[in-house]
Amino acid sequence: MSFTTKDVVLKEERPKTLLLQKHSDYLASYGLNKDDYEYCMTEYLRMSGIYWSLTAMELMGQSHRMPKEDIIEFITSCQDSESGGVSASVGHDPHMLYTLSAVQVLAMYNRIDAIDVEGVVRFIKAMQQEDGSFFGDKWGEVDTRFSFCAVMCLSLLQRLDAIDVNKAVDFVLSCMNFDGGFGSKPGSESHAGLIYCCVGTLSICKRMDALHADELAWWLCERQLPSGGLNGRPEKLPDLCYSWFTMYQSTLTIKTYTTQSSLSMLNRIHWVDKKNLEQFILACQDAETGGFSDRPGDITDPFHTLFGLAGLSLLGNPSIKPVNPTYCMPQETIDRLKLEPQILHI
């Protein structure tokens, strides 16, 4: 029996308080140097990068530090007039992931008018397949992430009626597994990030009743390790997100935040230890550069910075604005749009 728990050890000298000023400085300066290596190499997911940074800034009440007009102009220029979809950046192809990010950003800015809404609706509608699933783009990759993108995007545009919602729900439910969790397509293994996407889809479509809530929430709370952090699957390392590589393709694949957020939608966030979790998230801050990383001691980036802050918000941290667990956007935006994603009764 040579079994060692896969976990990290929190160091005594880790950050223990929230370094808000550092984080907002970090995000404000991110991408100012257009020749920065990381910045250039991540052009293919720029639109999501903007969503991560802006949402993080909104949650800190610092969104005025973002170049609003430039961002809106950029989004307009990324919409493909033919398909109606939005790309990650100029010169890239339209895709569900970036169409969602663009709509989220415009929803926060209350500037949906900056894109051709009918075009976006047309694009998403065209991605739905006979079995209710969604393609990511015209090349036919199917994934429950794209189902979530579709319903989230359309609900933000108040156009959920444009697709067959019942079929979308049925497809997501066909991805349910023996442990109550969900994977990326029928037959795929459960994974915290994809569970978040599927639970989120059901939350927006108001079909949370279809979940095996107790089994699923038990699986999710078993993700918490002694360090307080959460892993994405049994017998894996804890971190704030899944993987540096996959996060860029699966911009929604994240662990600690997604697990927390799924548990919030399931109304069972009290099944994990909040104090330990908070400690872990705080330890993921970098006191020098600002920002959060995937686990203590790693390099920070805007993606983990958003999900670190959003996670603390879900835990009720009073210096961060309330985040909506389904949309991962400020609750005030969701309230303004009069959206009421479903939360399970307990």
Partner: protein, 529 residues
Amino acid sequence: MHGRVKVRTTEEEKARKERERQEKLKIFKYAMQKIQSKRKSSELDKELLELTGKVLSSNPDIYTLWNIRRDILNIFRKNNEADESLSQMFDAELHLTEYCLKINPKSYCAWHQREWVLTTRTDPDWSTELSLCNTYLKLDSRNFHTWDYRRFVVSQCKPPLKVEFDFTTDKLLEDFSNYSAWHYRSKMLVELYPDLEGGRPIEDSHHKHELKMVQSAAFTDPDDTSAWFYQRWLLGAVKTTIRLVTYVIAPKKATFAFSKHVDLSFVRSKTFLLINNQEIVGEWYSCTGNMYDVLWVFKHWASITDALDIKVMYENNDGIKEEILSSKCSNSPYIGRTEIDFERKYSAPVVEELNNQLEACRQLLELEPDSKWTLLTTTVFLHCINSRLNYKEVMENLKTLKNVDKLRAGYYSDLITKWSVEEQLYSDYKSDNRQFKVRFTETMSSLPHLQYYSFCEEVDLSNQNLSSKVLPSLIVLQHCKKLSLANNKLTSLRYFPILDLEELNLKGNELDKNEIELLKTSKNYNIIY
């Protein structure tokens, strides 16, 4: 950034690295510009194939570049390129994806490109693909992309299911903590061995066999969690039914409570109200307004007076219509209730196996009384075998677990609540009392099965451990007049539902005075605070 540890470097080293990066960046930018301009001028040729290939070799996630490659390959296909050279191009594409997967085994783009090539070319070699999966799973047995790709390959070349099932057995015998293999196994088990006669998900002898397999895994390493999830699933693999649990026909309102969420078409097609043997027509509304609900309101126009013969016909899962008679005490509405039954229905051989395993767990527990997984498993076995007989022991164990496994104390509290409510329901459904008062010693932390108490006019939830998040659940108390939530952990009333109460007791909660005042002015019932 993921998994990239921050290392301290000297200034000199830093500068050297930066120069290197700027050099790389220059090449990258130049290549990207060239690609974009060639694409703009529709030069979809072999040169562009080479350019995109170079960039992708070190950046496999730039999705647009893969799109360009597919466009080019499609052009060569449509131009009737000779079979041989086309085949070579596709082979080269497979090599590129393999190269990219070596850099990043989790690149969605590279995996998808591989699928695209295999489904696009006319001469796919599936056996090569299957052996590629085997190789990759040897390198990382938990990469879910590889497992997904394997399922894709299997869906195309269709080997016998049993062969794949045996593959998971091999993988598990190598390493019991391979959760991915347990997962894949669960999918095939119900397809290979369903219990068609008994209506259970898994046929008896295989159910038993799997339980044994879990046991050997768990005993190899009790702290490895993978097998425990599979076991929990096996224990829950019983026939499930949706039951009508209680109905109330009052002059003002008629309600029907179900054991699970059901939708309008279900309610309409399975539930019939008869007054003096006459079927009543009316309209159904879910009490929350959701599509699926546990409590449905039936709006009808029949007048409900004393001395009526009221009963309900309910068509159960087996298609049999049950008659549920109503009873009526003076000054109360007509109430119908069915028998409470939360027991899991296993076959005799499975019960025998569970008892054997329980015995083994108990022995293990004697050696290590504080082992979480052994204690939890013992507890779940006890509950599953006979929840009523073992109730006391189960409660004691769950209380111990709250201490042994502190991170999940909230989970155990809710489990105590749920199983205690189930136990209390057995006796409450035998009495004619229309009052719900908590009679178990542990405090309630949530409100499971509350729809079973929808017939009550008095609900006493005082001195519990309830927080404001449970408030929306109270909506099922459609016939409640007197509700007490005194001495709980309520902090806000924002989500308190609309109820037809006469009295609401909120004493002993940390509520905002203004919120109480607001509630007082908006509600016409008596609020005690």
